[in-house]
């Protein structure tokens, strides 16, 4: 067990989230079951007030989870100093068998909680509070996901072992290794680049057509393909090394912290695209602004990520 101060901070916050989460869950059950906006009973008014408390708790958790996610990466990076073989956060995360799943799970939860807040804002604008019941049903599901994430995270930190030697990203992110994602590295460069630009194309089509269902689907595809192409192809141009596939290293100072901008644009663009689409499917009168914001961020991402190989080619006359 690796009890650095950073790990303790994360565990303390996890405990707070857990406790508050359980409390919010407990309050949410009567809301999900017995909510009746047309009732004039004191019980209903009590529920309305409790709904505000739950929303406040969820806002608190979400607002902290975002920077905490970055802090998690930073902590993993720091721990890499003590675990033999790990040279950055990637190595540490993968030193535990479910490390990668935990990581993906955390991102998923951020999307879900973010979406809940989106829905909440829309709900509050509605006189009839039509989405409250739906909101709380979603929260109950999200709560279980939160619990799973927290327990995963606690187990993650408790299973970190200083004595175990770990593979670093060089071996993880390559076709030769036996890690879960190694099969992906057999995809050729032209193939993955084509896939990326096709998914971009689909995305653009759905943007111009302004069809919410299509937009939802293309955003999801774009997200997945972007992450893959980033690891397999674009990342190598940031490092200017055809074998360096690590998705973490370009978050560091040596690469001018470009990683943060890349991830923020990609996550924001797809998140708003996905949430916006879902909301406009639920609520008929939802503003179309989300199309534009998603577009802005996703295009920004594309430009940045395309710039690296293009600039490299211009400067060197060859591809990697």
């Amino acid at each position: 067990m690796l009890l650095t101060p950073e790990v303790i901070a994360i565990l303390i916050l996890d405990t707070i989230f857990l406790l508050f989460g359980v409390f919010a869950f407990y309050i949410s059950i009567p809301i999900a079951l017995k909510w009746d906006i047309n009732s004039t009973s004191a019980f209903q008014y009590g529920l309305e007030k409790k709904a505000i408390l739950v929303a406040t708790i969820i806002k608190y958790i979400f607002i902290l989870k975002l920077p905490l996610f970055l802090f998690f990466i930073f902590t993993a990076d720091k721990i890499s100093g003590v675990i033999t073989g790990a040279m950055c956060a990637a190595g540490v995360v993968n030193s535990v068998s479910f490390g990668l799943s935990l990581f993906v799970f955390k991102i998923l939860n951020l999307y879900i909680f973010g979406f809940w807040l989106f829905l909440h804002v829309e709900d509050m604008k509605d006189e009839k509070l039509r989405f409250t019941k739906l909101k709380f049903v979603i929260f109950i599901a999200a709560f279980f996901l939160l619990i799973i994430e927290i327990f995963y995270e606690i187990s993650f930190f408790t299973s970190l072992d200083v004595d175990k030697i770990v593979s670093c990203c060089g071996t993880l992110f390559s076709a030769a290794s036996t890690s879960t994602i190694s099969f992906l590295f057999n995809i050729s460069n032209p193939a993955i680049v084509t896939a990326f630009y096709i998914s971009l194309g689909l995305y653009l089509i759905s943007y111009f057509v302004k069809n919410a269902k299509l937009f939802l689907v293309t955003n999801t595809i774009f997200f997945i393909v972007s992450v893959l192409s980033l690891i397999l192809f674009f990342g190598t141009y940031i490092y200017e090394l055809p074998t360096h596939h690590c998705p973490f290293c370009f978050l560091q100072k040596d690469y001018y912290y470009i990683g943060y901008i890349i991830y923020i644009t990609l996550f924001t663009g797809t998140f708003i695209g996905i949430s916006g689409s879902i909301l406009s499917l639920i609520k008929s009168k939802f503003s179309n602004r989300y199309y534009n914001i998603s577009f802005l961020f996703n295009i920004l991402y594309t430009i940045i990520v395309t710039a690296y190989p293009v600039v490299f080619y211009i400067r060197n006359g060859v591809w990697l």
């Binding site: 690796l2 101060p5 303790i8 901070a9 303390i12 707070i16 930073f74």
Partner: protein, 393 residues
Amino acid sequence: MNINHFMIGFAINSILRRGVKSFFTLFIFTVLIFLLSSILFISNSIKTELGLTLKSLPEIIVQKIQAGRHTNIELKRVDKLLEFHGVKSAVPRIWGYYYFERAGVNFSVVGIDAFDKQYKESFEQITENFDFDELNQDSSMVVGEGVKKVLSDNYYKDYFNFIKPDGELEKITIAATFKSSTSLESNDIIIMPKKMVLKIFGMNEKKATDIILSVANPEEIPTIVEKIKNLYPDTRVITQNDLRVSYQNIFDYKSGMFLALFIVSAFTFFMIVYDKASGLSSEEKKEIGILKAIGWKIDDILKEKFYEAFIISFIAFLSAIILALFFVYTLEAPILRDIFTGYSRLKPDFSLPFVFDFQTVALLFFLTIPLYIAAIIIPSWKVASMDADEVMR
């Protein structure tokens, strides 16, 4: 999201209006952050100090082990070790700890011979500045600053009487005092020619305390270590990396322990804040009623309460960090630093190097502010959702 500066002004005024209560909360929060940040700053400084020290340590140390304990190693092994590919130099070391009973401290006594390849730059400088043959002839030694001070305090100004294992005294003059790049190093070290060290400790001249190796390529260290262990199974081989890892672990362990204590105080703090935030005077209740009547939503009242919380947190955070910086780096952190300095032999008077980084601040932030905010969520909500019709009576 625009910042509502009206709300900020109102929040500040509310804090002032609450006077004693606000101040109390601010005070204990500041104390909490102060203690925490002091510990973290001290720990960071010592780690940095150690990092510097470690750089000057040998790449590989070979020790002979008998019955699980360290014992002196045969000098003839040095040549064997030099035969390994990649080993640049192999130097036998003669050194030990001398316990000065009167002062209750240990000195590290290190033997140096001028023609040896020195593994530490500071020693290199000493061999350049002092003629070791002369030291040998005159029975003199060169001491670190900390040693000089301890000896002076005990009335040994120009020389010192070592007590040999056979009970006889060996008088050795202090030729000079040296300074080194790190305070930890210079404090408890005495340097003298090897022959004299052998005499003081009554050691066998055909043996050494341990053998240190330097290698051409640090990547090869693990391989060389294997080879040594195969050749001499009765040895313990310690690499620079091993030391680095073990120090980081001790640190984190000690910090971890302290943080476990912190959790207890944090919990107490939480309960206090929760309680304070829940207890409302009738005046405060009336105020909420008024605000509601004139058109504040529950959400607005909550927002205002959070603004108050952020203001208090921010002030506490800033003050505590500034106080901690002052406490640790100007006052040299009396009392608190003793938690960490148990590892060293002397109670050194070294000064803590100034280390301040963003990551520590981020850590402090995550450990404290969310805690405070969590404590006020439920009380603030209870207050904000109170029924306002009473204000009509």
